[in-house]
């Protein structure tokens, strides 16, 4: 099955939520899917697709513009952040456009989920990720296991605005310590599969690597200070 087949298969089973996106099948031939923020669902339905003051578009590639800033004008550089703004409605003309829109809001997330179903998802553990960093980020690899475990709890998970399910470990023999972040299942809505599918984190993001670099520097300085 292609990714598009997977999407249609899921929709037929009632799939309607990924991240903070709500998919509304309309039964209308010209715009079979509406896509909106999960909190706008009732407003969109009550207004029969013409909610007042909403940004309306049929272009799935508008997803990038809509998702760039939060309602608080914060730059959302990781798209798994739980601060997607509402106030918009996409009226999409076919499943292909729906897939493109989902991919615009949550880049590669649907593809990763499909790969997981297919058994082709390759998860990269943190040490492998850090060890291949070069340039200014090569220092990130010096972070201690304790420091990395701590960072997961300080940076990841819904408490820190990331709605992805962490699949990686520190290394093959070192799972993440139990925490809200490491336990999170990637479905911020709490809906069961297949009504919702999780956002997956197959390797630490660049934000996490950047934080590892900072933490590694702090560890180095603390050690130097202790020796002085």
């Amino acid at each position: 099955m292609t990714q598009l087949d997977w999407l249609q298969h899921l929709l037929a089973q009632g799939f309607h939520r990924i991240g903070q996106l709500e998919i509304l099948p309309t039964g209308r031939a010209e715009e079979p899917y509406w896509l909106c923020h999960e909190t706008d669902r009732d407003a969109v339905l009550a207004a029969q697709g013409e909610p007042e003051g909403f940004q309306l578009t049929s272009d799935p590639f508008q997803a990038r513009d809509i998702s760039t800033y939060s309602a608080d004008h914060e730059y959302r550089f990781t798209k798994g952040q739980t601060n997607l703004r509402g106030g918009w409605l996409m009226k999409l003309k076919n499943p292909t456009d729906l897939l493109a829109a989902i991919d615009g809001f949550y880049p590669a997330c649907f593809s990763l989920w499909v790969a997981q179903q297919r058994g082709t998802l390759d998860v990269q553990n943190l040490r492998d990720k850090l060890n291949r960093q070069t340039g200014m980020y090569r220092f990130a690899r010096s972070i201690s296991d304790e420091g990395a475990q701590q960072l997961v709890q300080e940076v990841c998970g819904p408490a820190h605005q990331c709605a992805k399910k962490i699949l990686w470990k520190l290394d093959e023999n070192t799972p993440l310590a139990d925490s809200e972040a490491s336990r999170f299942n990637g479905v911020s809505s709490g809906l069961p599969e297949p009504l919702a599918i999780p956002l997956l984190c197959r390797e630490a993001c660049n934000h996490f690597v950047a934080e590892c670099r900072k933490a590694s520097k702090r560890e180095f300085e603390a050690k130097a200070q202790a020796q002085a």
């Binding site: 550089f77 991919d103 590669a108 082709t120 197959r202 390797e203």
Partner: protein, 271 residues
Amino acid sequence: MPIEPKPNTALFIAGHGSTENPDSSTPYFEHADEIRRRGLFAEVHCIFWKEEPSFREAWYLTDCEEIYVVPDFISEGYFTQDVIPRELELTGPTTVVRGKTFHYCSPVGIHPSMTQLLLRRAKEVAPDVDPAQTTLIIVGHGTNLNANSTKAIKDQCEILRQTGYAAVLDTYMEEQPFIADWAELATTPNVVVVPFFIADGLHSYQDIPVLLGIESEVGAAASQREVFRHNPHELHGKKLYYSSAIGTERLIADVILDQIHDFDQQHHSHS
């Protein structure tokens, strides 16, 4: 150069991106939109070093079995020679990675058609100046991570020296000759500065204006500014014209296609 449609093939436009400034990735999406409109590929995706989808996630993005990767980078260097091949697991011009065939093209910045874009941008920003009284400065980043990073600029400047400007200078943020020394480097009354960057991101819109003396401190991101700068700037007894980054030019989409065309010509690959 037009290319034949490749309806079963995906195009990945590889960019840097930023965790601080969303303007950095805007050009890549614009280039992708432009190529999508032409209907040449089954899918067109942007992939990034610092944003999502990451280079490492790119393999999963498409079901197409053949993929062209064009680095939307301005020079051959650290990212195009080290980072992108490493992250995409590419070992040569064409690599089969877990059943998918990747064709790795040269970066947009080194294509000969960039010369015309630079000239066009220089004329747009300073339409009334006499080239004989004008120094054209192309400014790049410069880095000690890869000696090739400045080659594209030097090559372009070599060609641009035949186009009637009194002088054409290559300058850099972090290597000599430094852009901060522009007033000493340029001896003409007019100076046109074109940033050899893909995006109006941190460097071209925030750092270089400070180095030029247009701004006293680093300002907000381009998309967050209400007032755009006005040319010319009267500084050090000269008229300074500063353009937006060359990568924001819409016609970069054509350069991306040119690189695919050249790849096919060189490697006899047709899909």
